[in-house]
Symmetry: C2
Subunit: 280 residues, 2 copies
């Protein structure tokens, strides 16, 4: 596999790059951004954090609005931001913002018309890490994962399903219980079919009870988030973690909404939190 | 005058707001963003930095991509990002990106068809400060100004023309000598006519020699900026400052380009630099 470098800009003593490559998982071209701190540019193996974005986003949102590069440079952390789905003319789509392109939900679809390309679990948890390890100075035993909203769902579920790969996990305003919220019910029934038993493999609340987690978990959630009560309900994950004996720090952030102003306020904290655990 | 609050989001313990108001200077509605640190929300008078953006930008670019809110919160600094020109259907425009809407050059146009609305000097140096002082807890003797590219030109020229208002000035990759570069020659001839004597009132190199400056000046410039040799040439301002006895710190930043990755890397430094001088 080859990576095409689409752009590169010096930032905070490192480089903010964007790559494109042909993906065997999705059967489409895929793009991701990679912040390389100075240590990585000098070839040192660096701990790496994968950031999964929410509905409608691409790599661009967090890369331009997240403001994480300063802390990534300070911690010597590589930060990777993938796209949220396969895209392109031959790829199935839906007119709604919460299904199809831009809304891959980080799972491998089994249903038509999604199954051929919507294989984001295989992409994020297998192909992309393999590609990163082949091409960038990623420290192979120090990869963490985080994400926002649908990406928080992706981070939590993929970490619990691939704990040998993702050593640390945190999230921002994650969808923790997609089996029981409108965004999740719509996406899971479309991508996986109506048998709810299959949905449990993609539901953080169910997974933490069935699989547990090897470390602690950090979640930030804004109290003024307009999706809090209907879609997010982090208290369900808090309860599931208690039952599973998994130490969760759920920080309700007073007055914060669902935007990148919220994410950027706390993203540096998360980088530091991951870096401490990945290198400690 | 009344301010309409368009949006507000909690960020870094403060609030990132966007306002709209009817402008008597431009005769159009104008929008600007305002970051209010926690101190301002509690009603304390705060030092304030006005950030002027470059060609094609609105308040949105630096507000979402500049990553300055953390340092503004740390310093207790209000940060205001105005638009770069009047806009709207009744406002003159040009198909090019570097003239007309999005390219006001922070001066009062005297030529047709621009003169009726393109009055950005009156807006930034008179109407907006007056409005801010009436409505936000701006510390009236502690206002600084900075900007990027065309906005760096605006910051330098407006500071030197209004030193009683703007106590501190810095810039990122500024157009320092618009009388002699393609962007400047095009804009100044369109807005002010072909008499080059009138241009000197809007040229930082000419102004620092004729008016000097009350303090020191900080400029960051990327060495890999694609506009460096043709449009920017900061060494001309360096030479003019030497002649005028004005202490300029011109930092050539190796490998950095003209993008917001460059601006965001050094913007926190500038906030700290202004805050020290405005409150010292």
């Amino acid at each position: 596999m080859t990576l095409d470098l689409i752009s590169s800009a010096r930032a905070f003593g490192g480089e903010q790059r964007v790559y494109r490559h042909a993906s065997s998982a999705t059967g489409t071209p895929m793009e991701f951004s990679a912040f390389l701190p100075g240590q990585a540019l000098r070839g040192e193996a660096c701990p790496t954090l994968v950031y999964l974005s929410g509905l409608t986003c691409t790599w661009e949102n967090v890369t331009t609005k997240g403001g994480y590069q300063r802390m990534a440079a300070d911690c010597g952390l590589i930060v990777i931001a993938p796209d949220t789905s396969p895209r392109g003319e031959g790829v199935a789509d839906d007119a709604a913002y919460d299904l199809g392109q831009g809304a891959g939900f980080y799972l491998d679809a089994t249903e038509k018309p999604w199954a051929p390309h919507f294989r984001m679990e295989s992409y994020i948890a297998e192909e992309l890490p393999s590609l990163l390890l082949d091409t960038l100075p990623v420290w192979d035993t120090a990869i963490g994962i985080t994400g926002h909203s649908m990406g928080g769902h992706g981070a939590l579920t993929l970490a619990m399903k691939h704990p040998e790969l993702f050593r640390t996990v945190s999230a921002f305003a994650p969808i923790v219980n997609p089996s029981t919220c409108p965004w999740g019910e719509k996406a899971l029934s479309a991508y996986l079919g109506t048998d709810r038993a299959a949905w449990r493999h993609h539901d953080a609340c169910a997974l933490v009870e069935s699989r547990g987690w090897q470390g602690d978990i950090l979640i930030d959630q804004g109290s003024a988030d307009g999706f809090l009560d209907e879609q997010l309900r982090p208290w369900a994950f808090d309860e599931a973690c208690r039952k599973a004996g998994v130490p969760l720090t759920l920080r309700m952030q007073g007055g914060y909404d669902h935007s990148y102003y919220f994410v950027s306020t706390f993203l540096a904290d998360h980088l530091e939190w991951h870096a401490e655990r990945l290198t400690g």
